[in-house]
């Protein structure tokens, strides 16, 4: 129905957003790609030279790189398992008729709105601190030795913090999906004598499949970029025990001033994120038609 006039107006209205995002996408990424082939250190900018594939080789043969990849995967998978399983369980629970459902929802969703540095500091100082934290108090009551969480289990501790932040998100999305479940179908299954477990496996779970996929993919995008939680708690240590890829690249760029190396790491991060993104785009794209 669009006349030629409205069509050109529409083009004009779309243009600023498209051009901005185009620049935002191409310019920095192009620069990263360029820098990744340079010997470029901010401490010695005069010594900048063409490096070829050196930065990639250097990154690839550095044991810290493999630690970082492993930690990234453990962090992402650990948080995903906790949030998806926990999210399904909690969503099923608060979907039941309960008193004070509104308040329960508010309490459960709250951690998602806590900014990452605050979340990390709360857990580091209030909860997991070896002498003043709640866990230490609890250990004392139970007659156990308090645990120095960030020294002994650095990656696990970070997984706990991040899972706490994202559990509300998973719960909320899965609850939303659960609430659109057809009640009559459920009733019919119940009258036919299907057990609660088989109703869950054959009706509820397939219904939530799409929401679960979306939760997994969206969280993965954000979890690959976990940064502030590591900065505030362990600084990636001890050693590289809690360094993920994001933190490794940050360290190369900001602490070692190694522009070329950090850029090569950045390109690797892009490739990793793209693998995930392709799946997400497919899942979301279906909804457009």
């Amino acid at each position: 129905m669009a006349t030629r006039q409205t069509a050109s107006l529409a083009r004009l209205m779309r243009a600023p957003a498209i051009i901005l995002l185009l620049i935002w996408m191409i310019v920095p990424l192009g620069m990263t790609l360029y820098y990744s082939f340079l010997n470029y250190n901010l401490l010695n900018p005069a010594g900048t030279s063409w490096a070829g594939w050196f930065n990639y080789r250097y990154f690839y043969t550095d044991p810290a790189f493999f630690d970082a990849i492993r930690n990234t995967l453990v962090l992402v998978l650990g948080v995903l398992v906790i949030t998806v399983v926990g999210g399904i369980a909690i969503a099923l629970l608060i979907d039941k008729p309960i008193w004070g459902q509104g308040i329960v929802r508010i309490l459960i969703i709250s951690p998602f709105f806590v900014m990452p540095p605050v979340a990390a500091l709360i857990w580091k100082n209030m909860i997991m601190h070896p002498s003043y934290g709640v866990f230490a108090d609890l250990a004392q009551v139970l007659g156990m030795q308090p645990v120095d969480w960030f020294a002994q289990f650095p990656l696990t501790s970070i997984i706990v913090i991040v899972a706490w932040q994202w559990l509300p998100f998973a719960t909320l999305i899965l609850l939303t999906s659960l609430q659109s479940l057809d009640g009559e179908q459920m009733e019919a299954a119940e009258m036919d004598g299907a057990s609660a477990l088989s109703r869950f496996i054959h009706l509820t779970l397939p219904h939530m499949a799409r929401a679960i996929t979306v939760v997994i993919l969206i969280q993965t995008i954000f979890l690959l970029g976990i940064y502030a939680e590591i900065l505030v708690t362990t600084n990636g240590g001890p050693g590289n025990a809690s360094t993920n890829l994001t933190y490794l690249i940050y360290r190369a760029a900001r602490l070692n001033f190694d522009i070329g190396g950090a850029a090569a790491g950045g390109i690797i991060a892009v490739i990793l994120a793209n693998l995930v993104a392709i799946f997400l785009m497919r899942a979301v794209g279906k909804n457009l038609d």
Partner: protein, 274 residues
């Protein structure tokens, strides 16, 4: 009714749900409690009853110049969101009301820019900010936050605009409404709720952003996320003061967040779950 639940079962579900909810909320609750304690109380061991002193809040404000990062957070989150809306509203509008064959591709491509890991462009952005004098300025960071959230803003607006029925426009045109009438009297009133939801969610996202705010600020433009991150060393703040600073940093957004649960689901799943 077959689905009626006995009141005993309801009591059971209620108790279980409240236990889970309180456990999840506990770290926040305990931080609020600790912020109302004195420093001695705060490290004296587990205690849920504070002395309700406000000394930590006063100390944070006088010693650490709390209002500066707070003001920065307000300016950055509102500024970047408004800037994004100015660019995104026309774009989402055009895509929703006069879609072309490529509209879907453009939307997917916009979404794909959101997938780019921030750290991948850390090097160029950092260098650009250093060389152009944008480092530690509010304007630089506002533009950054705007660009980061622009795809989500366009998407959210698009999904809202798309729900406005097209027949209303046709009816208005039949009644002789001009394009201007259409926009001012028909579409805008219907679009306002969607725009408000988008604004709300984006203020939250921008307020809590903690990668670029830490990378691109030092003192002048540092918002609360960067300010709080600077207390990572234990000497930085004492327990009660740290809690007070944390409570002040999260309280505004926590309250906004409670009002935006629905929009959150929609916005962060790009309309895939409603």
């Amino acid at each position: 009714m077959a689905r009626a639940v006995s009141s005993r079962a309801k009591v059971g579900y209620t108790v279980a749900a409240w236990i889970v909810a309180l456990l999840i909320f506990f770290p926040i609750l305990y931080t609020i409690i600790t912020s109302l304690k004195s420093e001695q109380e705060a490290i004296a061991g587990f205690d849920l009853i504070p002395s309700f002193t406000l000394e930590s809040f006063r100390a944070v404000q006088t010693q650490n110049d709390y209002w500066k990062p707070f003001t920065n957070s307000v300016i950055l989150s509102l500024g970047s969101t408004l800037l994004a809306l100015i660019v995104a509203i026309p774009a989402a509008w055009a895509m929703a009301f006069s879609p072309t064959k490529r509209t879907k591709d453009i939307l997917m491509w916009m979404l794909s820019t959101k997938m780019m890991p921030a750290v991948a462009v850390l090097v160029p952005i950092y260098l650009i900010f250093l060389r152009t004098g944008l480092m530690d300025t509010r304007i630089g960071l506002t533009v950054m936050l705007m660009l980061i959230n622009l795809p989500i803003v366009v998407w959210m607006l698009y999904t809202y605009f798309r729900e406005i029925p097209g027949e209303i426009l046709e009816a208005a045109r039949m009644d002789g409404a001009t394009l201007r009438d259409e926009i001012v009297h028909v579409l805008t009133p219907m679009a306002v709720p969607g725009i408000a939801s988008t604004l709300l969610l984006n203020v939250i996202l921008a307020w809590n952003e903690a990668f670029w705010t830490i990378q691109l600020t030092t003192t002048n433009a540092a918002p609360l996320s960067a300010f709080i991150a600077s207390f990572s060393s234990p000497q930085g703040l004492f327990w009660a003061k740290l809690s007070a600073a944390s409570v002040l940093a999260i309280a505004p957004i926590l309250i906004l967040g409670w009002f935006s649960q629905k929009q959150l689901v929609r916005g962060l799943t790009f309309g895939a779950v409603k």
